[in-house]
């Protein structure tokens, strides 16, 4: 079930919301949130609910054990076992066939005849997100950053909280622990308007901007070989805004839904296209993911408190893992390596870079990001090379349908992404004319949704 689907808007959300606020007391609300999370998840594949429950139970028990045991060896075990289990699940479902394919390829390169069978694996939606929820919980419990909860339903509600379940943000337990504690004292009306404001803006970002751009560039990119240089740039530029408004829109909707239920989810996108260097961009882009890798991988490797060479190594490893997180594909790893390389280069020329005018740095940062997105969007290395070739060597080519609409959308998207305040910078107190405008646009989107299947979010595949 998608946030931008009629079944969610007409059935799931109203029922969940009304029952939640009808219940009083912590426990009933925890239970209800957990149930609604599992119902929400089961709309994709009910069979995988058991997997999520298993992951939840293991992490909960690990947390309980960490509460009880002070012996360092036992405590380490309480981290290693569940984290390994989580990563094994993630590895099997997400990277199993990738590994098999690569082993087979390497063996055939050296003249062998390995025929490891390709497994018939279905990737459970959201596994990359909820396993990270549980991993952060265990590690933070071990590090003493949080006190593990004794309440299973509270923890289950945290893992399966429907607003952040399938595509994040990767909310850490400590970020909403207080909201969970105060769940019985939450005020229904306090954040209702703010919640709906976030939700509507996210909805419009997704349906009006991201999906319209996708409607033009997706068919054009299928015939990428026919694109001209201008066409290739338009498509990659379009993808840059599509992926941003798609995921930032989703995150805003998640934050809005959180507000409606008394949770303050953290900001996931802080105007990344206003970034003045690549490190700044990664501090603003998918913040919950980049901070996860920073805190649990980069810092664990030594971060920047080591030699220059080792710092560069740490950056490269971290960013390649960020790339790999996006999917079992060498292109994502190359995308991550490219980002790692940019971060290393940035560290090397930081002084000179800072001396450039701000607008130059912004444009250059965005340009470098676009090159990375050409790799990210490609369906294979052939397409990636072709797109980059078209972008940087002048080539004539065919026009594509919807180019006019795309240009209009790009202008609107650029104004919002590069200049307008983001949703966390807004006050969410709208004048009647703004409310009326939002309502009209929301009504148009709803009408649009009736006639077309809601487009899934790009990040659902990760």
């Amino acid at each position: 079930m998608l946030f931008n689907s009629l079944q969610f808007l007409y059935a799931f959300l109203p029922i969940t919301y009304l029952v939640f606020w009808r219940l009083t007391g912590k426990m009933p609300r925890y239970v209800w949130l957990a149930i609604s999370g599992y119902v929400f998840y089961s709309f994709w594949n009910y069979k995988f609910c058991a997997l999520m429950l298993f992951s939840t139970a293991v992490s909960y028990l690990a947390g309980r054990a960490l509460l009880q045991w002070q012996d360092p060896r036992r405590r380490r075990l309480c981290v290693i076992v569940p984290v390994t289990m989580d990563l094994a699940l993630l590895g099997f479902f997400k990277y199993g066939n990738f590994a098999v394919t690569n082993v087979n390829t390497v063996v055939s390169w050296v003249g062998g005849a390995s025929t490891l069978p390709i497994l018939n694996i279905v990737l459970p939606v959201g596994i990359s997100f909820y396993t990270f929820h549980t991993i952060t919980y265990i590690i933070d419990s071990y590090r003493g950053v949080i006190t593990p909860t004794r309440n299973f339903f509270k923890f289950a509600a945290y893992v399966s909280l429907f607003s952040q379940l399938v595509a994040g943000p990767i909310v850490r337990f400590r970020q909403i622990d207080q909201d969970f504690e105060n769940i019985d004292r939450a005020d229904r009306t306090a954040d209702l308007h703010t919640g709906w404001s976030f939700f509507v803006i996210g909805f419009l970002e997704k349906v009006l901007i991201a999906d319209t751009i996708a409607a033009v560039i997706d068919p054009a990119l299928v015939k990428y070989a026919e694109l001209s240089t201008v066409g290739a740039w338009l498509c990659v530029l379009g993808f840059a805004y599509q992926v941003y408004f798609d995921f930032a829109g989703y995150s805003d909707m998640a934050v809005g839904l959180g507000h409606m239920f008394g949770f303050r989810l953290p900001q996931n996108f802080n105007s990344p296209y206003k970034a003045t260097d690549i490190a700044d961009l990664w501090r603003r882009w998918h913040i919950s993911l980049s901070s996860f890798f920073r805190d649990y991988v980069y810092f664990s490797l030594g971060g920047s408190r080591v030699s220059r060479l080792l710092t560069a190594r740490n950056l490269m490893i971290t960013m390649m893992l960020v790339g790999l997180w996006h999917g079992a594909n060498w292109l994502y790893i190359v995308f991550g390596a490219y980002q790692g390389l940019l971060l290393i280069l940035h560290r090397m020329v930081r002084g000179k870079w800072e001396g450039l005018p701000q607008w130059t740095r912004r444009i250059a940062t965005f340009g470098l990001w676009l090159v990375g997105l050409a790799i990210f969007r490609a369906s294979g290395f052939g397409m990636a090379f072709a797109l980059l070739d078209k972008m940087f060597t002048w080539q004539a080519g065919a026009s594509f349908v919807g180019a006019g609409v795309l240009i209009v959308m790009l202008v609107i998207a650029a104004v919002i992404a590069h200049w307008a305040p983001n949703t966390f910078e807004m006050r969410h107190r709208w004048s009647p004319s703004w409310v009326a405008s939002f309502a009209v646009l929301f009504g148009i989107c709803l009408f649009v949704l009736y006639g077309s299947r809601p487009a899934p979010y790009i990040y659902f595949q990760f």
Partner: protein, 395 residues
């Protein structure tokens, strides 16, 4: 002291958007209570909405559309390729496409099968059963349905409702249609339950299902989308559903993409089903004959230009089925050679046996098919006046 001016809650998004959702929901519900006929381009959708469980279409309905057009033109969103034609579609009290008075007449045979039996884009007097009735001088009952489900129990139950002059069932099977299968135990139980349910309750259930599953607002929104995604403003996202091909004479013909893509795929013959059908009908002293209809792509592929090679020989499923049925002793007529030859002959005159914009055969196609069937198996002269006649001749 400064007073803080608070905005009236009615002008905040937390109030306006839920209200808007509620209004849209009510509009949706309200529109569902109205007829969807004005939003349909052909009878099919209009008459399927409120059909009772177990029925082919909504019983006792008459649908008239002066500008009906083909399913493929709609599916691929090609308004410029529509072939407008008038369509009159009438259903009897049992929900099949027949004149209402047919239930009081002597019936020579039951014609069962899928949409090729029902007739798509043709009027009541141009369906295969109407053509056969005219040629054979005896009423042939149109028992075609959307699903193309032909089950002995249901055929026999239907026969009991009719005045059968000749115990003959003509089973039409179209290439590319779902492979027929014996219903599962659960499906049989459900069908039995439905059959025992009073007609009024079934009608109510059909109406409820129609209200729940068909949204005119969705249809309106779909129309709006198609108007924009027209390959001028936005790319036509529906075009991939349909293959647009050019005939040697320059005309454009549409084909269902799945039909083209699966052309060379061998399919299961499902002989179990055919044996079961034959045995159960024979036990009830009914004769069974089978008509095999080629897909539009099989008939017209030789006349298309710029067709990419299909790599391997096209699977001749109908030919295999024909041989298997003959071996089983079921009289069978495979219309493939006949329609292919006729298509070539008519193409020279710029005439077609199938609609250019639809998956189905047109009035000319049904007329030719009826003539071929009549030539193969003429009904005995007393078919409409005696209670039983000998079995159809095996060719």
């Amino acid at each position: 002291m400064k007073t803080v001016k608070t905005r009236h809650p009615a002008w905040q998004l937390g109030f306006v958007i839920p209200c808007l959702l509620a209004v849209m929901f009510l509009v949706d519900v309200g529109l569902r209570l109205m007829s969807i006929d004005p939003l349909t381009f052909r009878a099919w959708e209009a008459l399927l909405r409120d059909r009772p469980p177990g029925a082919a279409f909504q019983p006792g309905r008459r649908y008239v559309n002066a500008r009906s057009y083909g399913d493929l033109a709609a599916l691929g969103n090609f308004p410029e390729l529509r072939q407008y034609r008038p369509e009159r579609f009438t259903t009897d009290a049992l929900g099949f496409r027949n004149a209402p008075e047919i239930l009081n007449q002597q019936v020579g045979a039951i014609l069962a099968g899928d949409s090729f039996v029902v007739g798509s884009g043709v009027s009541d007097d141009e369906t295969l059963s109407s053509r056969l009735s005219t040629l054979m001088g005896c009423v042939i009952y149109n028992a075609g349905s959307d699903a193309g489900r032909v089950v002995p129990d249901e055929i026999l139950a239907l026969a009991r409702r009719l005045t059968m002059g000749h115990r003959l069932v003509i089973r039409l099977y179209t290439e590319g249609a779902a492979v027929p299968a014996r219903p599962t135990r659960g499906e049989m139980l459900a069908a039995g339950l439905v059959a025992r349910t009073p007609a009024g309750v079934r009608a109510l259930a059909g109406r409820l299902r129609g209200l729940l599953t068909v949204s005119p607002l969705q249809s309106l929104s779909g129309h709006a989308w198609k108007a924009v995604a027209n390959d001028r403003i936005l790319p036509n996202r529906y075009a991939a559903n349909v293959v647009r091909a050019t005939l040697a004479n320059g005309d454009t013909m549409l084909f269902q993409a799945a039909q083209v893509n699966n052309f060379s795929r061998r399919r299961d013959l499902s002989l179990d089903y055919w044996k079961w059908l034959r045995d159960d009908l024979t036990q009830a002293r009914f004769d069974l004959v089978a008509i095999l209809v080629p897909s539009k792509y099989r008939v017209y592929r030789p006349f298309l230009v710029n067709q990419s090679p299909i790599g391997q020989p096209a699977a001749d499923d109908l030919g295999r089925l024909e041989r298997a049925l003959r071996a089983m002793g079921v009289p069978v007529l495979n219309l493939t050679p006949f329609l292919s030859a006729e298509a070539a002959r008519h193409l020279q005159r710029g005439e077609y046996l199938y609609w250019l914009d639809d998956n189905h055969w047109n009035a000319r196609g049904t007329a030719l098919a009826a003539a071929a069937i009549q030539a193969q198996w003429p009904l005995p002269e007393d078919a409409c006046s005696t209670s039983h006649s000998p079995a159809a001749r095996t060719p």
